[in-house]
């Protein structure tokens, strides 16, 4: 079995509104297991769009997408949901925690959805992840009681709960101050070094990108 977590073949994407416009132009790329990859590029070059295609949330594209050497292009909404649940962890620019649940429940939710472990086990794992991120003391707080950096750490814990193949981040530090950005980067780095976690982060922060293993630079819908 090859070491590729993610591979694309001639991935193209069009926007139709207001006029037909090709955002991504036949992108071929792959990400190996354990890599810490960042995608950089100017605003509007299509880096976020690429990430959403890779995440299977956006399915309106041409070309082929392989996750773990398995072709996922053209699967059903339900299968995509399962792939996201099992294999992909998300960290967004805005933290997107469910305000109805406390921190612990937020982290547990994808694990409960996966349903492979009992509630107690999921809760235990969630606490472990929160502990490694130094958030275990906030476990029973509601999201609106946390600071931005804390929320982002909860989001990372949530991304980790199902031991995904890959964690994707869409500007995870974009909304944070310098100190918190550094902290988030340190967490990511620790994950790759200690847990061989594959990471794919879209960012416009060049300092951040410079410290990752590999930088994919995009311009005008192409990788350069």
């Amino acid at each position: 079995m090859s070491n590729k977590v993610l591979e694309t073949k001639k991935l193209s994407k069009y926007f139709y509104d207001p006029v037909k416009f090709q955002v991504l132009k036949e992108i071929d790329m792959s990400i190996n297991h354990g890599e810490f990859v960042s995608i950089v590029g100017k605003s509007g070059c299509g880096k976020s769009t690429l990430l959403y295609l890779l995440s299977t949330m956006d399915t309106d594209y041409e070309g082929e997408l392989y996750i773990h050497d398995e072709l996922v292009t053209g699967k059903s909404d339900k299968e995509f949901a399962k792939i996201r649940n099992e294999n992909i962890g998300f960290v967004f620019q805005f933290h997107y925690l469910l305000s109805e649940y406390n921190v612990l429940k937020n982290v547990m939710l994808p694990g409960m959805k996966l349903g492979k472990l009992s509630t107690d086990e999921v809760e235990h794992n969630a606490m472990e992840h929160l502990r490694t991120l130094d958030m275990h003391e906030q476990a029973l707080k509601m999201p609106n009681q946390l600071s931005g950096g804390q929320k982002q750490r909860v989001a990372i814990a949530r991304a980790l709960i199902n031991n995904p193949l890959i964690i994707m981040g869409d500007e995870p530090t974009g909304n944070l101050d310098h100190k918190n950005s550094d902290m988030v980067f340190d967490i990511f780095q620790k994950l790759t070094l200690e847990h061989k976690q594959t990471l794919l982060i879209v960012t416009h922060d060049n300092d951040f990108a410079a410290r990752t293993n590999r930088i994919i630079t995009m311009d005008d819908g192409k990788i350069i």
Partner: protein
């Protein structure tokens, strides 16, 4: 699909908008409570009126109708068989009012398993004499035991005892008659029959059935007394009243008896068709009002869910990003709606029961209905089933459309849109 998790999420979303959810549930509660109250009350009234009628009316009545012969002599003649005959000034045939061979018919009917019991009766018009005034009326000669069993005669006797009719020459008169002639229990009343026979009878009771026309004219006496009054033999009977186990078979049985005994027979449905129509219309009205209330409640739920989905776009996006499919999201919102429906519906049933109980104890005394003391309520578990089913259906449909919309939310659009 992990049902428990989905339900858990639905309940959490609901709790976040507790006030609006309660308002939506109260809408359902109100609709169901009103539905239960209306239907129970309407059916209580219907049943009361039905009983009023049913208790007075046999399911099938056998009698001799006054009518002309179906076949006039000329139609029997072979000479004019192919001609068109006009017979003018036809008179009804005098067959006598007595049912021929009545004892045998009664005996036969009593063996029939479809029949609860049979009560023979004599109906005859009379004049009640009060001084020089004659008041026209009717005497019913009844078999006291059978009449009591089939029609609960004693329910309507407000003074005296039905069993006193078994004494010779005793009579129970209608309240209207008693008032007109200033008679009370124990007085003597003079009666003239249509054939001119004069008799004196002792008033042993007063009856009131609540229909003024009847109370003003009718009186009860025993079969023996009526036969003596008319000077007829003991097999003289003008009506045979039949009560059936299943009232819906009345029309069929009436036909059967008509053919078998060569008498006229009329069934309950035919003699009370206008009554049935009234009952049906009242039922339809109460159901219609209940359903309209529920539909209004349904729109309330629809609105609140739509708003909730709009507010919870972020949550929906994150649920989808972390592995919930469109189907899961759809079910979250359908369940949310159903939770509102079930909670509101159950409270509706409870309040419906409370309202009906309150109506049930409100005094409702009318001189016309001596047996009714409070407003009639029909406590029927079926209405509660219908109510909760309506509630679930309405909330399901009201939730379905917003839920479908939520299921189709594109997470990319929401996340990018920030």
């Amino acid at each position: 699909m992990n049902f428990k998790l989905i339900l858990n999420i639905a309940v959490h979303l609901l709790r976040a908008r507790l006030k609006q959810s309660i308002v939506a549930a109260v809408g359902v509660t109100f609709g169901i409570a009103m539905f239960i109250t209306l239907v129970s009350f309407m059916h209580g009234l219907n049943n009361m009126l039905d009983d009023l009628m049913l208790n007075r009316t046999p399911h099938v009545r056998l009698y001799n109708e006054i009518k002309p012969s179906d076949k006039q002599p000329i139609s029997l003649s072979s000479e004019y068989k192919n001609d068109v005959n006009f017979v003018s000034s036809v008179k009804p045939k005098d067959r006598g009012k007595a049912i021929y061979n009545s004892k045998a018919i009664i005996h036969y009917l009593k063996q029939d398993e479809r029949i609860v019991d049979v009560a023979p009766k004599i109906t005859t018009p009379v004049f009640f004499n009060s001084g020089t005034i004659e008041i026209s009326g009717v005497v019913y000669g009844v078999d006291v035991a059978a009449e009591e069993k089939l029609f609960k005669l004693s329910d309507y006797v407000i003074e005296g005892k039905v069993s006193d009719l078994d004494q010779n020459n005793s009579i129970i008169i209608g309240k209207g008659l008693a008032d007109k002639m200033l008679l009370k229990k124990g007085d003597i009343i003079k009666i003239t029959t249509a054939k001119g026979n004069l008799a004196s009878m002792k008033v042993v009771g007063i009856t009131q059935i609540g229909i003024a026309d009847l109370d003003n004219t009718m009186s009860y006496t025993s079969l023996d007394t009526a036969q003596k009054l008319l000077g007829e033999p003991t097999n003289y009977i003008t009506d045979i009243q039949v009560k059936l186990h299943d009232i819906t078979t009345a029309p069929a049985l009436a036909n059967e008896f008509r053919a078998k005994f060569n008498v006229d027979a009329i069934d309950y449905q035919t003699s009370n068709s206008q009554f049935e129509t009234g009952s049906t219309v009242r039922s339809i009205i109460s159901y219609a009002v209940g359903i309209v209330l529920l539909i209004v409640a349904g729109f309330g739920i629809y609105n609140i869910l739509n708003m909730m989905i709009f507010e919870k776009m972020d949550s929906i996006a994150i649920l989808k990003a972390t592995g919930f499919s469109g189907n899961d999201v759809k079910w979250i919102f359908i369940l949310l709606s159903m939770v509102i429906g079930i909670t509101g519906g159950l409270f509706g049933l409870l309040f419906g029961f409370i309202f009906t109980s309150i109506i049930d104890v409100i005094p409702f005394s009318t001189a016309a209905l001596p047996t009714i003391k409070t407003y009639p309520i029909d406590y029927n578990i079926v209405y509660y089933f219908v109510g909760i089913t309506f509630a679930l259906c309405t909330t399901f449909i009201a939730g379905l459309f917003p839920a479908l919309k939520a299921g189709k939310v594109d997470p990319v659009e929401i996340i990018r849109g920030k």
